[in-house]
Amino acid sequence: MLQSNSGYAVSPHHRYNPDDCTACAVCTVHCPVAEATSAFRGPKQTGPAYERFRLAGFGDDDSITYCSNCKNCDISCPSGVPVAVFNMLARAAYRDKRGTVLRDLLIGHAGDIGRALRRVPACVLNFGMQNSLTRRLLDRIGLDRRAPLPAFAPLAERDRLRQGSAAAAAPGRPSRAAARRGKVALFPGCFVNYYEPRVGSAVIGLLEKAGYNVIVPESFVCCGLPMITGGLMSAALKRARTNSRELARLTRLGIPVVTPCPSCALMLRREYRDLFPEEEGLADNSAGVHEACAFFSGLQDRREFSLADARPVRATLAYHAPCHLRALGLGRPGIELLQRIPGLRIEDMDAGCCGMSGSYELKKGHYDIGMRIGAALFEAVDKSGAKIAVSECGTCRVQIAHGAGCAAAHPLTLLAECLGVTGA
């Protein structure tokens, strides 16, 4: 038996210099922002090409503010150049020079705000955020009033999610098999935490069904991605350290971490090490982090998780693969799972980026770009005739609901429903 592992690989030595780029422009061809606006010079130019100038003290360009960090450049690059990382680091430097924007602070710290307001009922929060006066005010500081803002989930749901399997004692829930497979930690991510705790609960329910006891560690904080895109590197680094410490602790205990959010998974697994290469130990435990659908898909392949008792459903779903899920290189685990449900027809939209790209479209000046990017997806969803769209990413779902006007769900909430798992 021969185990070869000799091939060309993304060399850690080259990550922060532009030497692997051949200037072939494949990234610009596949960049949704470059397609939507010529104000963006394109990932090749703002990334590796300007990097050579930045090292020489030049290369400062407003164009850098247009990158949405969707990572289609990285996905399409045949040379393994982390183009978007170049862009994010350059944008942070750009913001350092010109001062941080209030809007970016607000978006960057949305997680902290949500955490601070966790005792406040949803109706109050939602009225506070969504009324026209607030939207106008937010518009003034750079949050486009036309952009969809997600609504806070009911207080009770948010509360229940935080307890993980400990909430199992709640009345009306079916008793579960003993946690024969040990513990799993859930990293819900800010979106699920504050806007869609149901997704988190569904994951908990499914994990329990698979025999895990789920904890939701309090010490996990926002993954830092909204800060990265706003150029708030030091704030992001702080989050990265906190999360890495917790990750290290869990790894020592042999507890894997599962997150239903592909962007959080990407951050925890890959981006910390790419963005903060000098920081020791940030990425040592990235191997313990799993995107939830991929985790279940793996369990299922190993026959540790069964979909045999899934209730048949006659429906057509429009599936949208989030860019960051594709960047993770996991294929389409969500589809693989849903396909096992009898009667369910899943159409892969394969229509590129949705345009929201986390918080990109919320930002003033980006709304129209985001909507232009999403147009192909909206049209595809419309054409598919599906009543429900599915996507692993929360902000993608917000965008699909906004642009295509149809309900959008996480694949695992559907799966939980079909399996009769009511969630935590």
Partner: protein
Amino acid sequence: MTDGREVRVVIIGGGATGAGAARDLAMRGIPALLLEQGDLCSGASSRFHGLLHSGARYAVGDPEAARECIEENRILRRIAPACIEECEGWFVRTREDDPAFEARWTEACRACGIDVRQIDLREARRLERALTPEAHTVYRVPDSAVDGFRMVRHNVTAARRLGGRVHTYTKVTGIEVAQGAVRGVWAAGFGTGETRFIPCEYVINAAGAWAGATAALAGRAVPVSPDRGLLLAFNHRFVGRVVNRLRKAADGDIFVPHGTVVIFGTTSTPVLRPDDTDVDPAEALRLLDEGEVLFPRLRDYRILRAFAGTRPLYSPDLSAGRAATRNFVILNHEEDGLKGMATVTGGKFTSFRLMAKKVCDLAARRLGVDVPCRTALEPVLPAPSAELMRRAGKIFPAGGAALAAARLGYGLEKAVDAAERFPWKRLLLCECEMVTLAEFEAAVSEARELSACSGAESCSLRNPSTNSAQSPQAPLPANGEPSPPQSLPGRSGQGLPTPLPSDGDDGLPQSPPPVSLNDIRRRTRMGMGTCQGNFCALRAAGATLEAGQQPEPDPLRILRDFLEERGHGIRPLLWGRQLREVELERGIYCASLNVDGAQPESGGAWKSDAGKTRPESNKARELNVDGAQPERSAVRRSNARGAKTESNGAPESAAGTCVAACAASQGHAHDYGLKHAADYDVVVVGAGLAGLVAALRAAGRGRKTALVSFGAGTAAIGGGSIDILGYTDGEPVLGDPFVAFKRLAPDHPYVLLGAEAAVTAVDFLKEATAAAGLPLLQAGTREFGNAWLPTAAGTLKPVWLSGPGMNPESLRAAKSLTVIGVEGMKDFSPRFVLCGLKRNPFFAGKTLSAALLPLPSFFPEAGGRDVSMLDLARFLDTQSGRAWLLRELPGAAGAADAALLPSFLGVGGSAQTHAALEQALGIALVETVCMPPAVTGLRLQNALRRALRRAGAAVFDNVLINGALTAGRRCLELSAEREGQRRAFRAESFVIATGGIFGNGITTAPGKAFESIFAIPVPAPEKQETWSGARFFGRTRHRFASMGVVVNRALQAVDAAGEPLLFNVFFAGRTLGGYDFAAEKSGSGVALTTGWFAGGRA
């Protein structure tokens, strides 16, 4: 007299010293003429590491030189800040260097007045992270980086502003001496190739390494020995300061950051000829060994090129190499009996001003002028005004205004004016080094003035006749290295001047092409960055024509000469990333644009109709298709059968070993949440044409298929048309290309699989793409051979299937044809295409013209990107885009009945859109094969991806397969390990279509190559220098071009004995060896055929 004006001094040599002397004399009011055999600064003044010495390097060995250096260093910083980057310098002693030398050195520096300060080691490592941890002590000295090109040009500009004159591409062929005094010089060139006598009173010989030969023209012996120094230019600035190794001066101990790059050198090798600048790969590798002491990761950084310069070492005692003095000498030939001439040689760039001063003092004394030298007192060029810089700031992207100002000097104003008047001239012609079209044009006009070829009109009067048409092989001084002057015996010392005949003197420079791209490169840095001219060469060649330069008989020569010059510096380093870039270059210029292939004289699919009417040839085509049909289906059946039996036999054994392997692979990495079951029948790795076709065929056969890709395949940027075989042994294939397979070598993939497989694969692709909404046209015919389609380089390229927008029939039918481009769309110059087509016999008898459409008004948005073909294609997908075309095209096309367009008719590019546009315009529209990112390739990729999705194959993007698990002669799984997680892809069989050198399917290192996943050795010559031919284009064979996995007729890799290495792994596309896709124009055909075959076997 040159033009009736007085010349008192002739300066020979347009390097730093000559340029300095020109400025010096001009400031003293002495009329002088500088003659340079090539372009300014084409000798050692641009071929050095660009270090402005502080003198510290010489302090121990030569204190006098050190003192000169520090003084000149201070002066140059003051008078020429635009040419100097004040980056400071370090001297680093590593643990392996002699500590005793350090003490002597610091003492000597202090004695010479050089400010030396020791830096804390930790601080040093914080500032320069790439520096070795083995550094022992670090000192800071006032070294700087100096741009040789700029310094010379700025000095020349200053001289010309004060009345000095300069002729480049003008070579001194004789020096007239009478009664022991100089009377004048003979020189040939002046933009016309003519020879003139220039009377003068004094000659300054500043010819650098050519000084000996030049002095010989006057019968003087000057012992100058050329000494070659090798330098390496790195792609990025891994160090921000000059770093010297603190030891006795030796090879490879200086690193100098220069703008975007780092220059590392150097060596010292005595050579015979001053133009011997060839680089030996072994020497480059030795240099890297030295450099690794200071920068341990040096080999990880990408080297852009290797280049060499020849130092003019003055060696009366025949010392050579490092033993010879680095000091300059001035030989007043009055002392050896010749009045009115001095030779200045030796020395270093840093002291050029001083050298010029001293020699000009001699000249002035001889001429009786007592104005003192003022070169140290005044700035070379005044800084541009704040107002001009403000305007420039709005034009040049990303802080490029300062760059442009430093590069252009006075030319800045011209460039700013142009860019303000024509906003699209802000486009970046060279994206790697940020050179705008406006800058390019300013540089063109400056270069023209100097070569005395001051306008397009005058060029057109003189140019067409002589050199290129009659002797296309003639070496051009503009592009290669200048040839050494041949002394003309018997000329010197004669009595009355008699004009020399200008014809037939081989040693004379031919008149240069009006402007070579290398002249522009030296002025702007165009083509000196990451891609080394891959993307700017075509644009720049087009831009020279669009800027009004008269075309040469062969416009491609502009382009080829430029790329060959770039290639000269890349060739010694043809492995790894440099080789990838070269493969991309060959993909663009050979495979897509066919700038290398001989254009067919006659024959070919759409020339052959001379006596025929169209319907007949159509009929022939139909017949041909009918005729071929039965055999193909037979092939298909037999293949299906073959596959079935194989899959019947295989599964159990695979499953058996699989379980064992599963257990064995545990504990290798975290395996949580990973796929483990043998999920697929077939896993295809690679999403280029071969991979997509293989996956499509496998999925179509009902096999459960996964396509795993890392990055988009080259299909996305390729030409999008399918070529089968365009050339064999450099000769165009004129008849049936499938029949021509028999002329190929036995290990060629086509020969392994046979013509029938190729024919069937073509049909398969046609069906698949048509079903996905992109019907490909059958452009070539079995009867008449390939169709020859026009490219953006003005050549014809042999293709078999083309996109719906590239119908050769339309071209054949057209009586008059217009080539249409769009303002500011840099990748397509209609005039350049036109020049090419005009030379082609296919187009004889047709009326040809060219026109530019105005850019749609909303391009470019403020501060935005340049307009690419893809942008326009997307625009033409919209209603307003089509309205724009319908509005603008008729006026531009005039009465032509066909328009040749960039490939921009929509990203969808459907046949219906195309037909609708043609109908609305009443004119045939033909798209051209263009350079990346070509829309045509994207269309093909999208269509195939659509088809694949419909066929139900799973697609995994961004997965880098970097491991394989094999048992015996079977592969059990491929795996991707990243961030500590390992993902396995198990399947019954695998298709490896990971691409070649560019696609990283083949990994190369000096003297070796191997397949990237299984580490299968790929035959490669051990001697690196034999990997490539002497020139990139033309008929030379490149060994690297056909390096790839050696396979059998089943596309299984085989060992030396011909036994399959792995029974269930099939290789397809450029991963295979045995063919040269670029020279043969067979890339997509081989990818298609082998992909189809592998997908059928797997």
